[in-house]
Symmetry: C2
Subunit: 353 residues, 2 copies
Amino acid sequence: MSTKQKVTIIGSGNWGSSIARVCAQNTIRHSDTFEREVHMWVFEEKVDGKNLTEIINEKHENVKYLPGINLGENVIAVPDAKEASKGANVLVFVLPHQFVYKVCESLKGVISDDCVAISLIKGLDYKDNNLLIFSEEIERILGIPCAALSGANIASEVAEEQFGETTIASESAKHGELFLKLFHTEYFDCNVIADSRGLQVCGALKNVVALGAGICEGLNYGNNTKAAVIRRGLIEMRKFGKAFFGGVRTETFFESCGVADLITTCSGGRNKKVSAAFIKSGKSIEEIEQEMLNGQKLQGTTTSQEVYSFLSARNMTHEFPLMTAIYRVIYENASPECIARDLRTHKAIVEKE
Amino acid sequence: MSTKQKVTIIGSGNWGSSIARVCAQNTIRHSDTFEREVHMWVFEEKVDGKNLTEIINEKHENVKYLPGINLGENVIAVPDAKEASKGANVLVFVLPHQFVYKVCESLKGVISDDCVAISLIKGLDYKDNNLLIFSEEIERILGIPCAALSGANIASEVAEEQFGETTIASESAKHGELFLKLFHTEYFDCNVIADSRGLQVCGALKNVVALGAGICEGLNYGNNTKAAVIRRGLIEMRKFGKAFFGGVRTETFFESCGVADLITTCSGGRNKKVSAAFIKSGKSIEEIEQEMLNGQKLQGTTTSQEVYSFLSARNMTHEFPLMTAIYRVIYENASPECIARDLRTHKAIVEKE
């Protein structure tokens, strides 16, 4: 790479702002590789009558989505995605998935020819009864390679520089090294793997498993049951990945994006909380989403519906008893106790000597 | 097997009593395979002036170690281990590890020639700077095959018939089927694997990792850090197993004895609680054990010392940074912050394309 890499963050929510801060530290640290300024596309809105981009550029703080944290003076908020990405060599996608396609279309012809991207978008895209991987959608639309990043990362803790790990998946070792420079810090410990599909399957399905953990909690089930649900969740995540996406590897589930993120999501996190409240209150999931999330849809409930439709169309729901039970409890009025009952194996598998 | 199998439980604590109850249900269910009566060796003690064995045989309840639970009228408490095991075809070892050798010696010549055993003993045995697997020690002393059972199993929840899973490790598929009949129920879902060493390594090392989770809690660290510690713990458990014990398999860590038990032990459990109190109070671990456990030694602290000595003797402490940091924080006055600091990779591993 002859010229310095220009980095643009596409997104500026809680996680987008935290990750912009990490990148801005590293563009200074690795000044031989990166341009100092990190552009961050901010969907413009008014805060106390003032433009959010102006506040960020004056105070170096995203007062709306990551208050109290200095992002670094080299994070530059830009209200136009096209403008923000002009000449970019590295695009970091960290925005709600419903905006991905529109934004990608707007970036065509704007970015550098050698541009590479990385997706921090959660979830899979459900289209024509298929589940698509966002990094591959970005690759397809923009014609550039796209890696992915996911891990046990609560945004505010990363912003406070509490130690944590994450996983970067890059098919190309060269790009993997570039992303390592851009994201790795002493407190944000990155490991690079090659299995981008496995990483993104984990990021989507862990939210469904967390609904299962919440159902257990709502039923006041003990630790043994909850541990069984989380473990079966991990097994079904892996099985789902391997069955429907080529190249998914077992090792990926030992990474931060796998077992670590699953543990965090199942112990705290709003998917777990909402489904526990759903069981305890007897209200519909939509009512709970209205009450607890101001009408926003949970990632896990949407993914649960998509996974169930996907499996149904393939006559494979019985191969994924936990995912199926979670869907049926939440959307088909099934008895919540099936969360444990449907996991019973009746006959266990005896391995060959 | 031409004759019915006579089952003896060696041990009658909280877990021993719960498991005796499970076995007693299954000897009735599979009356073609097992003799109805399950003998349980009970270390005799007085409860309100009466022998514990007599209370158990009259009330069918272990009032001291599993109060409020009916064990089944076919559980017969016997105060003498030799007497309890006379003619036994199946021995279930579920007793504190310090008693194993003495009890095994006393059983020589008493049990049936075709007797098989299964070990539910937690931990590894540290001897001459080596770590020994209890099932293999039982095999060696008694000259009979010995399987092992471990999982995310809180004894009282199993006794209350809350759904949970466990793992049985048996080198022999035939014995595996026998143990499946003896332990599997609708609420206690057993999976049989062949990796007995991996299962027992998990059962021992998870307690050390739980000390690490407790140190995080004591320092008020967030979820990202705690998830990183648990994940690295899983990685080091597997690395330890593979490095020092032949035949340990990655799949074992996806079983209930692996990731599920680790999650449960790191979220509740006394190893975690004691180490959190250790950090918060500034007292020595011995003082905390005195205060919280009435002077009893924690499994995790003992194992931590043993693992550290074992690694030191082999100049391999640097290969297990988490296990080493935990030991140093607890026994060498190291700054507790090293629990996270020592996990920093500085350079991440980039996989080949």
